[in-house]
Amino acid sequence: MNDHAPARSPQDLDDAIAGGIGESPIRPDGALKVRGEYAYSSDLWAEDMLWGVTLRSPHPSARIRSIDVSGALKTPGVYAVLTHEDVPGDNLYGLKDVDQPVLASDVVRYKGEAVALVAADHPETARRARERIDVDYEVLEPVTDAERAAHDETLPKVHPDGNLVRYQPILKGDPEATAEVVVSGTYTLGMQDQAFLGPESGLAIPAEDGGVDLYLATQDLHSDQAQTARALGLPQEKVRMTLSGVGGAFGGREDLSIQVHVCMLALRTGKPVKMVYDREESFYGHVHRHPATMYYEHGADADGRLVYVRAKLYFDGGAYSSKTPVVVGNGTTLGVGPYVVPNVRIEGWGVYTNNPPCGAMRGLGAVQPALAYEAQLDKLAEALDMDPVDVRIRNAISRGESIATGQVLDYPAPVAELLERVRALPMPPERDGTELDIRELPGGASNTTHGEGVYRGVGYGVCIKNICYAEGADDYSTARVRLQALGGEPAAMVHTAAAEVGQGVVTVQQQITRSELGVERVTVHPNDTDVGKAGSSSASRQTYMTGGAVKTACEAVRRRLLDRVAERFGEAFGDLSLAGGKIVSASTGVLTEIVDVLGDEVIEETREYHHRETYPMDAEDGSSERVQVQHAFSAHRAVVDVDVELGLVKVVALDCSQDVGKAVNPDAVVGQIQGGSAQGLGLAVMEEIRVGDGAIRNPSFTDYLIPTILDTPPMKIDVIERGDPNSPYGVRGVGEPPTISSTPAVVAAVRAATGKDLTHVPVSPEHVVDFGE
């Protein structure tokens, strides 16, 4: 025993280990990605593999009279042509409601719905054979108006039970309350796309046991596994999935795309089959953000204190239900924003139409109402001649107060503080008239103004987002942690199914393990279905949930190790801790090396982490004691320059204050806020899938525009940490809030610059310009 060894407290773990919690170690996949050497799922390859393609419906609504595949089958090089008749199990899948066919049988419900599959020895052969499949359609009138779909019983039924997916009211206090100052408005939000760069892709390899191994890009391996196994008519253990490189997700990989299709082709042909969508097919091959129409009325007293909010929200779910029920749940529960409102009447409808299916996207169901309630707060400020930030602060929710469902927030809710902080951030410099770099002006490189017609505006937005699964879902994640001596060093391996989709959960798992076990060498096992569920990489939940699971599994490993030490050294268990590869006693200092205790033994523990229980909403009034487990908040200030004659916008600054509970990886937190802010900016001023008569009119990155570096301003990001006592390390989900509050802030700034109402996002030049000259 070394007398000079300092005694360590059990909390003081990270000083000997680089890259623990609170640091920003380099991502294991970072250098590869920067160098272009990272293998994405579209790079998968196997000897002798075939290529699969999908035939899709050209009509938004039609009855299938017949499908003739004989021409396609005769094409040399073609190995299989499959239709609904070839689906081995249930020809149905879905995330919540199981309502979507793997391959359409009697009807197609949207343009782009999968109808048949081809496998051939060359992708071009497969595409040409696809053209030889003859489908006889009886074209039907599509249902395209979501609001009518909610109320008009005379419309055709998209599904046998009708066009309503979910109706949810929330009633709180006096639904007929009156107020001194009343503002109202109707707001609409276009269909946003996740616009991930790596298209849907995967490689299925038939296995000797009659099962299949699928390598793919997804957000949730086990959800895919369960749905795929059911459609294939196989037990789950015969449908094994391994995550390959994911090129972005943002919600668009929660629903199935290639999964069942590519497995069907592999099982039928007995060969490995690869599928990769091209960009256009990708726009048809995944769900989008729900477009919404929102009617709002806010009543306040003369001091600007909210008396009531009444709202009707219509969400267009498109042809299949996907996450529509959750969008209605989130949209209504969060529909008044991060404010205290005594009297609430909100109704939300999620409907089926023959438009493209909509589902998960970053900020699920919370993005839409934020556009509306923040515009309403600005209107209220104007009606009362108040500062827009002051009006928000006056109504800001805080710990101990309740949201519309009656749930009391029993954790920090620093909404007012975030608003104060973002307002206090330094403003960008004024534009001076001599500046002649057109890239700094609206229109940018396109040389549309040298200052003519340019006005500046400032706007604010703040939001609330629920974190993790809600409404009574049993939300959990599983982690397996193994500790052993490798080459004389203690080494840990973490195995979870938490999909690394770019957000950095791989780094977070390493950091937690380093801190918990005092071990520097931590590897992350490839994500697959050989370990228990992790749930989806969505709802800003993986650092919370899988982070919690890794922490719990590490604690179990540590307990086994320290039990042994306690026995051998006669120390009290509670005095022992791990640090820097050593075992430390609070009373006597360093006792021994971890490797010496381990010897040849491998300690492995698997644990689940479940968050606090949540409860469903009451069907009549939406009340729920705890509908959501945690809420996160962010506030944005946008500064924009608008060319009011041409309607072009340059966002000059987009600054954010956000509470993250605990920044496990501060750099990654800032990255999430920057990315989320840019995505919200995109929705504010350019991103919209244009749908006409059920068809997507811009399925390409030529016409579906996302922000470039010239559209994305420098961002001042102010991160605060007000830990949640209920979550591991106090973390609070980070990824979604900045996507939500940035949009209303940018739109408010454009309103301020132009004096226009601007009730639709994205704001387009046509909305800004006066044609009257």
Binding site: L705, P765, F771
Partner: protein, 293 residues
Amino acid sequence: MDFLRPTHWRDALDAKAHHPDATPIAGGTDVMVEINFGRRRPSTLLDLTGVPELTDWSLDDGRLRIGAGVPYARLIDELGDRLPGLAIASRTVGSPQIRNRGTLGGNLASASPAGDGHPPLLASDAEVEVQSLRGTRTVPVGEFFTGVKRHVLADDELIAAVHVAPATGAQQFSKIGTRNAMVIAVCTFAVALHPEQQRVGTGLGSAAPTPRPATEAAEFLAAELTDTDQWNRPRPLPESVVRRFGELVAATTAPIDDVRGTANYRTHAMAVMARRTLGWVWNEHRTGRQQCA
């Protein structure tokens, strides 16, 4: 698919004569996109990047001859001072990667209504030099396009070069897009002053099926300047002249509603761009200083 890669211009013409259905490919920034999207399945690709003659430019008899294979990046770097309007337009094209690959010849042959190279060439009265084994002809750029994505090239012809006079006066170009870089034009406008001829050149993009000049607007302005002796003794332009110029430009448009913008907006924006670019070229004409961009 066959792939031909001649290394001499003569061989390229020979190949095109013998494979009239061959698709020429220069930078590939249009062709490859079409192939990737499955919109085009060429039986034969005729790669022109091995033909050194196509990537030269020269000044002969006071006129520039620019090889069809010169990319935007070189138009900006090497010819920016002599063809400022084309250089401004080139800077608005795509991204650095696209400007390194994409060529003027490809832009002409694609004949997209949104081709950013076309309006400045129109404003400068450029001509397209077309060759085949049968011989050479030059086509004024205004007559080169026959419709959306259509042009006058016969099956055996290739674009050899573009002929255009170096600028003698101020030139400008402006492009509307709904993002601040890397965007296909909603509409574009180019203007060039030709003081030695006391003439004004214009070019409108994405405002009609083919790029077109605003002849009436150009003639109005030239006459106005001549009548008031402003070519030699320039003074600030009266607001009424600038406004009228914008109106006449807008009146030349025959735009459509599409996913990039409405016809109304295009007409409106065209007038705004015309007024502003006129202001910039006129300032430059008066002061001799280029107005940024």
